[in-house]
């Protein structure tokens, strides 16, 4: 099987602080990969590195074989990698529809358009003209997901997909997830809830203090192994 995205010896820094150490990662086409780990383990840093918000060594990240570690975020987006950032991060001065349209800036063709996003999240069609700041948290997450889908990405990454949302909203977002991923998209999900991560993903990576502690197929790993990698101690 061909690797869609590969990280090799990825080191990431914030100034003098090193956030990732020699991270190795391989994501195949069609995979759903969960990244778990405690706060400060480097999960968000990993996604920011892939998305181009953090500059890295060119060859430390490859997408379809192309070294992209040194690419700027907009060039990465044009290649077909989308990030749904932590905390939604919608544009407050743009309406719902304008937020979604901005997601289509890269101009990649595919299944997703304003029409199909509104079909996936009908509530957004009703509220298309509303300022994005006036939506509930769950609706904002829908806009954030829709905005990322509008670029018709080959790889979509969700940072803390359920953070700050009510459980019933989280359920409905996860119910929509297969529809999102079935359109030939590969996905990476950061999720605090290990049970949910394991049930929706095919592979899991466990980060601890900037290093990959454990990785493998979700059906081959035991809960105990993951808990141990998560907390760094025998549970």
């Amino acid at each position: 099987m061909s690797s869609l995205l590969e990280a090799q010896a990825l080191n990431a820094f914030y100034g003098d602080f090193q956030a990732l150490y020699e991270v190795e990662l391989s994501i195949n086409e069609g995979d759903v990969v969960a990244i778990v780990g405690a706060n400060g383990a480097g999960k968000t840093t990993l996604l920011r590195s892939i998305a181009g918000l953090l500059k890295n060594d060119a060859h430390s990240i490859r997408f379809n074989g192309t070294p992209i570690g040194h690419y700027r975020a907009d060039k990465v987006a044009k290649l077909g990698i989308a990030l749904v950032p932590e905390g939604r991060q919608l544009f407050p001065s743009l309406s719902v529809e304008e937020n979604l349209k901005l997601g289509a800036t890269v101009g990649r063709k595919g299944h997703w358009s304003l029409h199909s996003v509104f079909e996936l999240f009908p509530i957004l069609k009703e509220r298309r003209a509303v300022a994005s700041t006036q939506l509930s948290g769950g609706q904002q997450q829908m806009v954030a997901i829709g905005r990322a889908l509008m670029s018709n990405p080959d790889l979509i990454m969700f940072d803390e997909i359920s953070l700050g949302l009510a459980p019933v909203i989280i359920n409905s977002i996860y119910e929509q997830l297969p529809q999102v991923i079935n359109q030939g998209t590969t996905a990476v999900i950061i999720e605090q809830d290990i049970t949910r991560a394991l049930s929706s993903a095919s592979r899991v990576y466990c980060l601890q203090e900037g290093r990959v502690k454990l990785s493998g197929r979700t059906d081959e790993l035991t809960r105990q192994q993951i808990t141990q990698a998560y907390f760094g101690v025998a549970a």
Binding site: L53, P92, L102, T105
Partner: protein, 288 residues
Amino acid sequence: MTEWLNAIVQGVLLGGLYALFAAGLSLIFGVMRLVNIAHGDLIVLAAYMALTTVMVMGVHPLLALLVVIPLMSIVGYILQRLLLNQTLGNDILPPLLVTFGLSVILQNMLLEAYTADPQKLNGGAIETASVSAGNLSIGILPLLTFVIAVLVIVCLQWIFYNTALGRQFRAVSDNQDIAQLMGLNKGHVFGLALALSLAVCGIAGVLLGMRTSFDPSIGSGRLIFAFEAVIIGGLGSLWGTLAGGIVLGVAQTVGGKINPGWQLLAGHIVFLLVLAVRPRGFFPRVEH
């Protein structure tokens, strides 16, 4: 009574010119939080560009706009991409210092090229023509300036809120990182913003040059008027900028009516009063 009314009407029309000075300044502050100290000198540069165009091609100054506007836009885009983008970051000091330096360089370049002699764009009959309304007589050129100012504001407003470009301006203004994630090259978007800002400077420069004489040193004075109009109107609001320009213009002409020496002083005093009473201006939009 008519004299006072006349002063107010002239002030409102003068405010149109000040709004044109200010609109470009307001625009780039809104998009990239850049305070462009060289803004006034760029307006003067546009006036000299028009002067050269008029002399070389022998056309009317208003026709010279067809050369000046595109040329100023190109200057803006290149200036932003090559110079100003390198200065933008979390610190607001570098762009201030660099545009201040740019202001000094521009003044001296204009001095070398055109000397310190005052120049004027000759608009011909339009400069002295007027229309009568009751007892008032309104100059065609000030009226035209005001109408152009309103049209420019309408146009900028439309670009900002109804086009893909405007969406991109607002998105990078909200959050540069996330805008970049959506595939926007912020360097390019900023370049377009300064291009648009300098296009407005081009219009302002030509109208300024037809109204009064100019020399390479007057840029900083125009910058002050632009700043005052922006602050009075409220940061980030285009219509507020027009209102600010009008308030400033009326203050100056009415002040000048009371005592000719008070013209500029009255403008500054009204500006300070507005700052004291409404520090965020009349129609603030920016929340920071």
